[in-house]
Every structure is written in C-alpha cells, then in structure tokens.
Amino acid sequence: MSAFAIWSTFMLSVVLIPPLCSGLIRKVKARLQGRIGAPIWQPFFELYRLSQKRETLSQTMCGFFRCSTAIGLSTTLTLTWLLPWISIKPWAPDADLFLVLYVMAFEKMVSMLGALDSGSPFAAFGATRGATLNLLVEPAFCLALLAIAIANGDTNINQIFLNRGIAGGAQAVYFFSGLALFFISLVELGRMPIDDPTTHLELTMVHEAMILEASAKNLLLLEYARILKMTLYWGLSTQCMFQLMPAFHKYSGLQQEFLSVCGIMTMACLVAVGESLLVKLQWRKIPEFAAYVMSLSIVSAFAALAGKRL
C-alpha cells in the first residue's frame, strides 16, 4: 500500500469507527428490546448537532473545564498513535507500555478535574467513583499489558504486535490478556454491569455524572473522546485475540484492517447483548468484579512467566 493509502485508511478509521461502533450498540440493543431503533449512523448526526449548538457553562467554572475537554480528546488521539488498536498504522512512535499507562492516567485526571470545576456535587460524586474504579482496574490493566510485554521481552507495545510468529506458550498470554482488557474496558468506560450509560440518575452514574455540566462543543469533544476510547480498548483486545490465529499475519494489510474492524464491531455487539441481559452491579460488588478481572490478568502473567521458562 502507498503511504497515502495508509494514512487515509488510518484517519478514516479514527473518524468513522467510533461513531459507527456506538450506533451499532444502540441498534442491537433496540432490536433485542423489540424496537427498530435508529440507523447506525445516527451518532454522526448527533455529533454534528452538538457542534452547531451554543455552549452553556456554569457560572462557577473557571475556564479549566473548556481546556479539560480539549486536552481529553487530544490525549485520546495521542493514544490512537500509541496503542496497537488497529492493523494499519502509518507511524508507530516509541509506544512504551508504561508511557501508555501514564497518558491514560493523565487523561482520567484531567477529566475528573474538569468534572469538579463546576462545583456540582453530582459531577463530583461521579469523579470520586471514577477515581475508585480507576484504582480498582489500574493494576489489572498494567498487568495484562505487562504479561504480553514479558512474553515478548519488550515494552514497546506497537513493536510487539508487529512481531510475527509468537512462541507456542504465548498464545495463552494473549488470550487471557485480551479477555482481561475487554472486561477492564467495561469498567473504564462505565458500561454494564458496572454502570448503565443510558440511565439518567445523577446519584448513581459515573461517566454520565461527570459530564453533567457539558454542553454543545464541550459535550461533542467529551462524547467523541469517549467513543474513541471505547474503540481503542476493544481494538486492543481484538488485536490480542488475532495473535491467537497464526494465519492472521499472512493476510495483506487491507484484509487485516477489515478483520480488525470486524473484530471491534463484534465486541460492540457482544457488549450490546450483555447490556440487554445483565443488570447493574451494586456499587459494593464492584471490587469483586475487579478482583475477577485481576485474576484473569494474573493468569496471563503466570502464563507469560511459564512461557519464559520453557
């Protein structure tokens, strides 16, 4: 593929996949509930509508909030370069695993501070819950990626996923890490069973509460950053799963890209089905859920250690 084709494919994926993914979830959920539902490109219209609106800000805000939404989206965009979420990437910088960890932490910190800027108690509750969830899954996230890094003896995760031909023992590592990353994404993105993104009950929500004061362009940036982050997580998880298929690396670039997109969409469907069937966990049960995720990561890490030994 020419450089131009690679760049345009990547840019198109960044712009198109997240809204389509979000539209697909809504469509599947609607169908499962017996409704026809909005078309899957509905999120594009919504984002466009938000871009045309005029902002309303809280009197209490000091200007940090507006910066925080811009920083939040650009941090997520930085992550699209740093993470191997899709097969075609025009440029892979030194994407170190620990760098990714702290870029993500920075993004969360900025969004929590943005939530606190308005002085709204609801947003603040959302932020403190967000901080708690972050604490619960951060070790699991770190360990899931670390296991892959150990199996490859390298912390540059872009490089790791470009590596062809993995040792036999490493397949278990990819499987369990991919699984763990998928469950971590549910916690990080505030989806079921951790948080219901469609309720509008200020007292229980996490992410929705944090963006309570956002409107128009602010909301556009926040929403887009969020669905992009969702795609990144699921893309990462998909790439882990593709490492299980030895045939994957034999395909051409475009075929790989197509498969990756299909993988992300499959995850979206899975989440939609899950959200239709599950009920929200009680807040006090969430540490238990985090413990299950952590144990998946631990299994993966032990598999990595065992593979190292062989």
């Binding site: 005029r54 902002e55 309303t56 800000l57 809280s58 009197q59 209490t60 000091c62 940090f64 939404t69 811009a70 920083i71 989206l73 650009s74 941090t75 965009l77 930085t78 370069w81 910088p93 030194d94 994407a95 170190d96 620990f98 960890l101 702290y102 870029v103 932490a105 920075f106 910190m109 929590m112 501070l113 606190l116 800027d117 308005s118 002085g119 709204s120 108690p121 609801f122 603040a124 932020a127 403190t128 901080a131 708690t132 972050n134 604490l135 619960l136 951060e138 070790p139 996230f141 770190c142 670390l146 150990i150 003896g153 912390t155 540059n156 309570l212 362009k217 250690l305 190292k308 030994r309």
Partner: protein, 614 residues
Amino acid sequence: MLATSIGVFAWRTWGHATTYDFSRLIKFGTSGLSIYIDDLSRLFMVLQSILMLAIAVYLPPYLRKNGKSFQSGFFWSGLLLLLAAMTGVLCSRDAISFIVFWELMSLTSISLVAAKNSGRSIQKATFIYLSATKIAGSFIAAAFLVLYSNTTSLSFIDWNFSEQRNYVPAFLLLTGLCIKAGIWPFHVWLPYAYEAAASPISALLSGFMSKVAMLSAIRFFVFGHLDSPHLIWLTLILGVVTSFWGILFALVQNNMKRVIAYSSIENMGLILISISISMLAHHERLPLIENLSTIAAVTLCVNHALFKPLLFLCCGSIFLQAQTLELDDLGGLAKKMPLTAGCLIIGSFAICCAPFLNGFPGKWFLYQSLFQLVCASTSDVERTAFIAIICILAAVGALAVATFVKLVGVACFGEARSEAALKLVESPREIRAALILLAVACILSGIFAKDVTQILTSSLMVSGEFSGSANIRLPAFTGNVVLIGTSTFFYLLFFAFRGFKTASTWNCGYTIASPKAQISANSFAQPVARIFRPILQYRNVATITGADRKHFPENIHVDTKIVSILEKTVYAPLVFSTARAAKLISQLQAGSVHLYILYVCLTLIALLLLGGLL
C-alpha cells in the same frame, strides 16, 4: 545570593571530583574538615540553589505578612545555616564531618520548624521531630562507630559494604537514614513536622533535606556495593510499603499540607525502591539494570526536589491569604488566585507523572528497571515479586491521581466554602515569581527530560562507580508534541473565539444550594477509604435525629474518623512504656544523701566481688 553563588560555583567546576582540605583550618577533634565535591553533589548544589533562590524570593512577603509569629532575623540565619549544613552533608567524605554537618542540619531544621512560635500543636510537632531526628542521629553514629572498629578508618572510601562484617552497621545506617527520610514505619514524625513548619521550610525539608538522606543512602549502599540479600530485600519491601502507605494516607487527609506531606512519604518510598533495585541488580551481576535503577533513583530525587517545593509554596501562598489550609474551608481558588491555582495544578500533574512534566522520567526508569529485572532474573519467586511490585506501583499511581484530584478539585474549583475563602486575592509579586520559577523548572525538565537524564548520567559517571551506559530510550518526547499540539488546536478551534452563555450549576432543578453542599474532602475520599478500611481504621458514622427520622430528619451529623494504626498500636504503647520505665528509674534518684551513700557502698561491694572473681 549565597545560594546562587554556590550554584554558580558548582556549575563552573563541573566535570571534576575535587577534594578541598580544610583540615588545617578547622578541626573536629582529631580529624580535620575535608570537603570532597564531585558531580553528583555539584548537581544537587545546583538544584539546591534553584530551590533556595525560589525560597529567598518568596520569604520576605511571607515573613512580612506573618510578622507576628516569626522573628525574621532568626529565620534567615537559621535558613542559611541549614543550607550550609546540607551542602556539608552532601560533600563530606569522612564520618566526623558527616556527623557534624548532619547534626547541624537536624538542629537548624528543628529550630526552623519551631520558629513559628504559636500554639501547642507546634510544640508537639517539634518534639516528635526532635526525638525522631535524635534517634536517627544515634543510629548513624552507632553505625559509624562499628564501621570504625571494623575498618579502623573514618573515611567513607575505606568502607566496603560488600564485606560480611559490615552488614550490621549497614543495617544501623540504613535505619538512621530511613528515619530521616520518613520511610515506613518511621514516617510518623513527617506529617507533623511538615504541617507545623512554615511553608517555605516544609518546601526545603521535603524538597531537599529528605533527598540528602536518600543521596547518602545512594552513596553508602549503591556506590559502596551493599551485598547482603536480606538487607536488600528488606529495603525493597520497606520501599513498597512506604509508597503505598504514604499515598493511601495522603488521600484521606483533609489538610493540604498533610496531604502533600504524606505524598512525600510515597515519593521517598519510590526512591528507596529504586535504590534497593540497584543494589539487587548489583548483587545479581546485572550492570545495565543497576545503572538504570541508579539513574531512576537520582532522577526521582531531582524531580521530586522541584515539584514538591512547588506544591508546598503554593500551600504557603494560599495560607497567606486564607489563613487556613483545611480543604473544607477552601474552594474556588482558581478564580481568585489563578496563578497559585495554576501552579498547584502543574505541580499535581507532575506528581501524578503526566508524561510531559518532570514526574514521569524517574517513574519510567523505575518501571523499566523492574521490567528488565523480570526478564533477566532467574528465580521464579523473584520474578513474581517484581511483577507484584509493578502492579502495586500502578495502584499507587492511581491513588496519587485520586489524591491530587481531590486536592486540586476541592481547593481550587467550585465555590468558596467559607468566609475566609471568599475574600481571597492573589499573592504578592515576589511569591508569584517564586512559584513561576519552580513551575517553569518542572515543565522544562519534563520536556527536556532526555537532556536532564544525559546530565545525570554523566554526573554519575564522573562520580566513579558507574560502569558502562544504561539502556535508556525515554519514549515521551514525540507523544508530547502530539498531545500539546492537538490540545491547543482543539482549544483554538472550538473555544478560543466562541461565546457562551452562563447559568447556575445543575442542582436537580432546585435553586442554588449552599456552598457546603459541594463535595467535601472527606466524601471525595470515602469510596476508596471504604475499600481500605482495615488499614485506615476508617469509620463513618451518621446520626440522624428527629421525630420521624427517616423522612423528616431534623439534624444529620456525620462523623468520619481515621486512626493512624501504626501510631496507635506501636508508637503510643512504646512511648507510654518508655515514659513509665523512665519514671521507675527516676525513683532511684530520690534526692536523699543516705540512699546515695548506700549506692556507693553497694557499688564498692560489687566491684570487690568482681575483683575477687576475676
């Protein structure tokens, strides 16, 4: 001025290791004062001069405003003496000058903590600090004595910690240094002292004095090749516990200075982890990892010495205006003191390792050396342990994010929670200048992290004990450009030239509630504190009174209580029993001549008996 001249001197003489022999001029007992300056101490002298410059600019308005509670002459002389003493500790190469400067440093810092002559809490803090320092000093002195008897030399060069007979003094020395640096379980003095001291002093203590202890540890144990696996693992475990414990307690504190003080404990823990990994790598003959983690330790020291003082000075600036640092009395600072709030935010981002600020490089080196140890190590138990440490560090990072979101969010954002916070104005020019100086230092040393690392590496190389280069490829720079560039772009595109309406914050459709309805410091920490309630001894009791109390409460009272488990179960009984023992012994001294004559007789008889026996 003095600080700057020391800095300039250090800069001009870069690249050599020099010994200045003052032994003919000044004598401590039998040995003379000799000062040995190498690049590592020069580097820290430069750092010290930046810090002192900031504090020197900062102090005059601070003292003017707090004129009643400080004597400025005493304050300045104490500060200069402390500066000299710290430089002395950094540069001394034999036991006697080390001890002299160490004690000088301790005593001046204690008197500076006590300089704020008001209130019992300061007396208590000073007393706790005094006793901790004295105990530390005695441990170090004991270690030096044993080392002298082992090697018959007082010079540090002759002490080799890879010999078995030097393990016991190494342990003593380590304990002494740990007490001074505030490592768990000896950290209890630290929050008291930092809270009680004036903010510039806390900045100096946390930013530099604790580093002096850690640098001494690097000099003794890393350059001296401590080779006892038991001690190394002990250090590693202490470091891990310290960092987790420190940040957990930081999260539940409600006073800004206490939050920052506890987070200093966490940072000390991180430095100790890097030091012990360096020793461990040496023990396992992995020179690349040894170098990497030594760089990690020094980088963490340097960067912590920039952002922690920044945070403390921000606290001071807030205290000057609001006369309180209780988070529940603050709020809305960002509108009234934009510069102070901005610097507080930068400092908080730095401490949470935002990749373009200076907190990140050190942490990255630490993670990287742990990871390489996992790959290189041969024992499964060790590898599992290192993986566990990486996970704990990730959790510590997440807790740090929660802590500093709470600190900044409650203090700077929202509405003012008390009358005092309502009438704030920005601090005077000098204070702002000092804050900007440190904030810029944080940003520059974060963006040019590679160059800073280069300087550090070269200084470590000149300091001797550094063989070969470490495998460093700090990954942050390109990402930084993308990040900063795109955020500016989005800001310009969407917000910079656009108008907006304002309205009051959403309150479920009710009218504007009282500012007290905002989240409090306690409630922000509650979900995490609940998870860790066994460690924190966290209790949250709500009492609701009223006729039909479920639906029409008249009075709701919520009480949150956190007990420092270590103080309650270890230190309080220890202090109590010591006091009782002292009382018992003091009965011997009854003030009666008859009794004393009896003692003399008994001693004589005992001596006679002993003479007969031997």
